[in-house]
């Protein structure tokens, strides 16, 4: 229908930069007010026609999930496909359309095969909120697969972190060899290609990184529409950072361009997850709207986007809450092992915006309901007291009533916690649980962290506890941070697992479904991949009193001077009995006697 018509002026220009595009858009937006329906139609045609020509694509999406706790979870995803394969063809690429040039150059310069970077402020509360769509640990996380032609991986990694640090305005330059690891099993490539040699993988976290507007702005600049149009108008920092959880990420990976996979393309996925709190943002009322969440409403889709959709999770509707405006479009999907139903709002359709030319979704809770416990859940803490030793406890819960499943636990511990690996114990249901795979790389002081990876089988409905003791190292005095009494961070452990799906778990037939569909569980839905991050740890190390250096220097110098000096003196001096010196009269007499040649007086 509308997509069939073309705007000739734009299609005619083969080299179409974003700059020109934005100018065009302004004109279109200006005309938007005089003769509305058509201009909006034109606007969409523009994006459509252009991407069709170059086979670059941009899609945007917002998923809103009301949480059982009364909070609300909004997850943005922006996907840019870049139709080029520079790694294969060894050609210089200097032509960018939708894909941000800064990232494209980084990819080609450092021979990156896959790049995943996330900035998170807050901790995802699995027990209250369920599983997130894209998990991330508190602070910054960066993992990169390099192409297997790279000879100096560490050098590339070092430069890459510094460049990314500039691009995202983050302290990624603090990533060095002392906090970088090469996990052997936990982080497999998510895109095309089956690289297994973990020498080309680098993984690092900065649990202390604080994420704020300065990181959001460069992230928004990577979007084709910036924050000017489409879903990204909602991304206003004053609201995004008035929330319980904020996480933004960039994932780049190679994907297939078509079904036959004849040509590769680069996929850039920018995600932003935010959870708004019922009490602090929602004034305690279980009633949410786009305006209440973001202080904006939607007025248009990004003109460059081939698809622009808002999904609202209405699986618990109508018992739990009501949604307005209602939409007839429903979509079903199995997400994280659970069959969910979504209301879909397609922003490319003008009628979505109604009379007011704006879309403001409204969700109103009607009652409470209990959440199904997440099947996999992990937490971590430091046990013990005192500044000499301690014990890291990682507790992993399998809440599945009858299925056991294996999980991969990865721990990267800084060198200044000296792990006693012989004290490593894994217990489930108060019995020893022997991991079937252990990969341990001990730390080297000031050079590399500990890396511990284990494959553990979790018995059904159980709590598995992994403990390991450590000793706190005494650092050199220049190695302390400016705020040493705050403590030192240990990054989150990562639990990766294929969790049996809840769809397959559902055998009680209470739900209204055809009998013929439910006898044999569907194979492809029987398990799903989940990554769970535990909380980071804050560990106090023995810290000297830095406010005392003056006293200490004075005291030490005095002790050394007085104590050591006098003892040295006493030890080395030879004592001799002194001839008592003669009185002056006798000395004078002796002088005369010497002249006279008479024996001297004693």
């Amino acid at each position: 229908m509308i997509q069939e018509t073309h705007s000739d002026t734009i299609v005619a220009s083969p080299v179409y930069t974003r700059y020109i595009y934005i100018k065009k858009k302004k004109r279109l937006v200006a005309s938007h007010f005089c003769r509305l329906p058509l201009s909006v139609v034109e606007l969409f045609k523009v994006g459509e026609s252009f991407t069709a020509a170059a086979r670059d694509q941009f899609q945007e999406e917002l998923v809103i999930r009301p949480l059982h706790s009364g909070d609300i979870y909004a997850s943005f995803q922006f996907r840019t496909l870049w139709d080029t394969d520079f790694l294969q063809e060894r050609q210089k690429v200097s032509h960018y359309r939708l894909f941000p040039k800064s990232l494209g150059q980084v990819l080609s310069k450092f021979s990156v095969r896959e790049l995943h970077i996330s900035f998170t402020q807050g901790f995802w509360r699995t027990m209250q909120w369920g599983q997130p769509f894209i998990p991330s640990p508190p602070g910054a996380e960066l993992w990169v697969w390099f192409h297997d032609t790279v000879s100096d991986v560490d050098g590339n990694w070092k430069e890459l972190t510094n460049v990314l640090s500039g691009i995202f305005c983050a302290s990624l330059n603090f990533i060095d060899l002392t906090n970088t690891v090469q996990p052997s099993a936990s982080f497999k490539p998510l895109g095309l290609g089956n690289a297994t040699d973990h020498r080309f993988l680098r993984y690092a976290t900065l649990p202390r990184e604080i994420v704020c507007t300065e990181n959001l702005t460069p992230w928004k600049k990577l979007l084709p529409c910036g924050s000017k149009a489409g879903l990204s108008v909602l991304l206003k920092s004053e609201k995004l950072f008035h929330s319980s959880f904020h996480s933004q990420a960039v994932h780049i990976r190679p994907v297939c361009q078509d079904e036959q996979c004849t040509s590769k393309a680069w996929e850039l996925r920018q995600t932003l997850n935010v959870v708004f709190d019922l009490y602090t943002s929602g004034q305690g009322k279980k009633e949410w709207s786009l305006f209440k969440m973001f202080s904006r409403t939607l007025t248009e889709a990004c003109p460059l986007a081939t698809s622009s959709k808002v999904y609202v999770d209405i699986t618990d509707n109508p018992e739990l809450f009501e949604l307005s405006p209602a939409t007839p479009l429903l979509s079903q999907a199995v997400v994280l092992g659970d069959r969910r139903t979504y209301s879909v709002f397609d922003l490319t359709r003008a009628e979505m915006f109604g009379q007011l030319r704006s879309l403001n979704l409204l969700l109103r809770w009607k009652g409470d309901s209990d959440m199904l416990r997440p099947l996999l859940h992990a937490e971590r803490y430091v046990a013990g007291f005192g500044l000499q030793t301690g014990e890291i406890h990682t507790v992993i819960y399998n809440n599945h009533p009858y299925r056991a499943f294996p999980v991969l636990l990865m721990d990267s511990v800084p060198w200044y916690l000296q792990l006693y690996i012989h004290t490593l114990t894994v217990t489930s249901k108060s019995r020893d649980n022997k991991p079937s795979y252990i990969h341990y790389q001990p730390a080297k002081d000031r050079h590399r962290p500990h890396l511990l990876e284990m494959l553990i089988q979790l018995p059904p409905h159980s709590m598995t506890e992994v403990t390991v003791q450590f000793e706190r190292a005494l650092l050199k005095w220049t190695e302390y941070t400016p705020d040493p009494n705050h403590g030192f961070y240990v990054g989150s452990s990562v639990v990766s697992a294929l969790v049996p799906s809840m769809v397959a778990m559902n055998t009680n037939f209470t739900q209204d479904q055809p009998l013929f569909s439910s006898f044999v569980p569907v194979k492809e839905e029987s398990s799903y991949f989940v990554r769970v991050y535990t909380e980071p740890l804050l560990v106090n190390l023995p810290t000297p009193d830095f406010s005392m250096p003056y006293n200490v220097i004075c005291l030490t110098c005095t002790v050394v001077a007085v104590g050591y000096g006098s003892f040295y003196n006493l030890l080395t001096r030879t004592f001799q009995v002194d001839e008592p010196s003669l009185p002056l009269a006798k000395r004078l007499a002796n002088l005369i006697r010497r002249i006279r040649g008479v024996p001297l007086l004693a």
Binding site: G122, F123, S244, F245, L537, N540, L570
Partner: protein
């Protein structure tokens, strides 16, 4: 150092010390006492000041106003507490959940070594309820704790009510950077111990508890709130914790700063501050306040629920509302605002509290004596012991002289004294069943009386033990024993004073004069009496009387004796329940050391 390297001058110094030994010792002792008493004199003390930048300049605005809600919650809590006959777990869980906290419970049980007659408990079973306010966009690495006890009877209902009202108010704020844990603990210290051990996954006292389900990272500071009466006139700050540990002085400064800001009447040791330091009454007042702190610190027990946090390197203090001054009445909202202000400032902390002093004495809330000022008082006492090592007639080289007394002569009394100490430490608790069978006493009485009996028996036992092995005790023998004992006592007191100044000082004041002058040639009966009157047990007895005098509740001799017995049982209980070290220190080290001197007196 020419002084030491020159043999003549060295000799002169030694001669001087030897000749004037006794007068110097006397002067030192008097100087120590005068110095110590001088610490309470205001011109000699320093004014308290906030050292922590994060808490100083950024004044926060307190807006808590739900005093009425706190009172109604307190009433509700009271009703449910009566209905449940203890902690109303279900109601509390619901109440906290309704305020948007993550709520968890912990059940614990503890069998005391013998019944606690003061609090009438033996088999203790209870539940702690705590709710965690998750700070927005914080990664669960740091936490603050606010606790209120669930105690029997009418007291502390308001504390719980205020806790819940504060939780509700805090939950709606966005500025929290640290998680806040609201804890209601049952059975005061036992519940607190169970919770802390659960939180840190340790078990040092044999407590049985269910593991904690929810945590919030490393705890930075804790405040314990006790409102014993429904009418509150003033707030008392309690700092003394287990083993005489004190929280960072900045916590006290913070409390004082907010009391000043909100115009709240605040006290320490239950005593108001006076401004007339230049009058005799003013000085006596300050001296009394400081003495109370010394006595409380010396006894090594936790004087509030906060005391157990200190072991885990968590700065904590108790705030106790008391109804003691007429014409002043404080509403709950004011206390709420005070807490809000304190918690908000603690929330601003970038590091743990570490800038200010950890070792101090407080003659009033606005004045403090730091370790540098009070340590000389103890140092002067310790010097006496070292000077006496070189007292006339004791030749230093007898130790290494082969013709001198054998090692066994000295070792025997030392070993026997210490075995008596071990008996004093172990037997009271272990023999209680036997004692109850044979004598018409309760378990608690049995324990205390056994302790007293062993203590007394010790006096009879070792004073002529050296005869067991080498027959006649020689003149050299007692001198070597005295040398050993003096050095031993000096080391013991020195170490004690470094950890718990008050305990070290109180022991030194009573033990030093008699031990320093002890020889077998003194009149036996008189010196034996003096020694007994200055023995560790009598020190405790005097402390009980002085303490009662200072809190303006003087007791008669009979009551004093009963108090003394209960203090001993409390000391043993504190050791068993919370790991207080005063009882083992006295039984295993101080008492045997004193016995060694007793031995010298009866050397023959």
């Amino acid at each position: 150092m020419g002084l030491l390297s020159d043999p003549n001058r060295r000799k002169a110094l030694t001669n001087l010390l030897t000749r004037l030994n006794a007068p110097i010792c006397m002067v030192c002792y008097l100087a120590a006492i005068v110095w110590f008493m001088g610490l309470a004199f205001e011109p000699f003390t320093l004014r308290t000041y906030m050292s922590e930048n994060a808490m100083g300049s950024t004044m926060v605005e307190e807006r808590f106003s739900s005093g009425e809600r706190a009172l109604s919650l307190a009433k509700e809590f009271d009703a449910h507490k009566r209905k449940a006959g203890g902690m109303p777990v279900e109601w509390l869980v619901k109440a906290m959940q309704a305020r948007g906290l993550e709520v968890f419970t912990q059940s614990f049980s503890r069998k005391l070594p013998f019944p606690d007659e003061n609090k009438e408990r033996y088999m203790v079973r209870g539940t702690n309820v705590y709710g965690i306010l998750r700070a927005p966009r914080a990664p669960r690495t740091e936490a603050l704790v606010i606790t209120a006890p669930c105690s029997p009877g009418n007291s502390d209902n308001q504390a719980v009510g205020l806790l819940l009202a504060l939780a509700q108010y805090f939950r709606n704020q966005i500025f929290w950077a640290k998680d806040i844990i609201f804890l209601v603990n049952e059975h005061d210290l036992i519940g607190m111990q169970a919770w802390l051990e659960g939180y840190h996954h340790t078990n040092i006292t044999g407590m049985e508890y269910s593991p904690l389900q929810g945590r919030a990272g490393s705890i930075q500071a804790a405040l314990s709130l006790e409102l014993s009466s429904d009418v509150i006139t003033s707030l008392d700050l309690i700092l003394e914790g287990l083993n005489g540990q004190l929280p960072n002085l900045d916590l006290a400064n913070l409390f004082y700063a907010f009391c000043q800001k909100l115009g709240v009447l605040c006290t320490i040791q239950g005593k108001l501050q006076r401004n007339d330091w230049d009058t005799a009454e003013g000085y006596t007042h300050a001296a009394q306040t400081m003495m109370l702190m010394v006595l409380k610190q010396a006894c090594g027990r936790s004087w509030g629920d906060h005391g157990l946090f200190l072991r885990y390197h968590i700065e904590a203090a108790s705030i106790r509302g008391i109804n003691g001054f007429r014409h002043y009445k404080m509403d709950v909202a004011t206390i709420g605002r005070l807490l809000e202000g304190m918690v908000r400032k603690l929330n601003n902390l970038l590091e743990r509290l570490h800038q200010s002093y950890f070792f101090y004495l407080l003659p009033s809330l606005s004045r403090f004596v730091s370790i540098g000022y009070y340590m000389p008082a103890f140092g002067l006492l310790a010097v006496i012991l070292l000077l006496r090592v070189s007292f006339p007639g004791l030749d230093h080289f007898t130790f290494f002289n082969p013709s001198g007394p054998g090692v066994l002569t000295v070792l025997t009394p030392v070993v026997i004294s210490h075995l008596t100490g071990v008996a004093l430490y172990l037997l009271p608790v272990h023999l209680q069943e036997m004692a109850v069978e044979h004598f018409p006493v309760s378990e608690t009485e049995a324990v205390v009386l056994t302790a007293v009996a062993i203590y007394t028996a010790g006096l009879a036992l070792p004073h002529n033990t050296q005869r067991l092995l080498s027959g006649e005790g020689t003149e050299q023998g007692w001198k070597v024993l005295k040398l050993t004992a003096l050095l031993y006592l000096a080391v013991l007191l020195g170490c004690t004073a470094l950890i718990n100044f008050s305990l070290g000082f109180v022991l030194a004041v009573t033990l030093v004069p008699i031990t320093a002058s002890m020889t077998p040639h003194m009149p036996k009966a008189l010196s034996a009496l003096a020694m007994v009157l200055l023995s560790p047990a009598f020190t405790i007895l005097y402390c009980v009387f002085i303490y009662q005098e200072l809190i303006e509740a003087p007791v008669s001799v009979g009551e004093g004796w009963m108090l003394f017995l209960s203090v001993i049982s409390q000391g043993i209980l504190d050791h068993a329940l919370y790991g207080s070290l005063v009882y083992p220190l006295l039984a295993l080290f101080i008492y045997p050391c004193w016995l060694m001197f007793w031995n010298i007196l009866f050397w023959s």
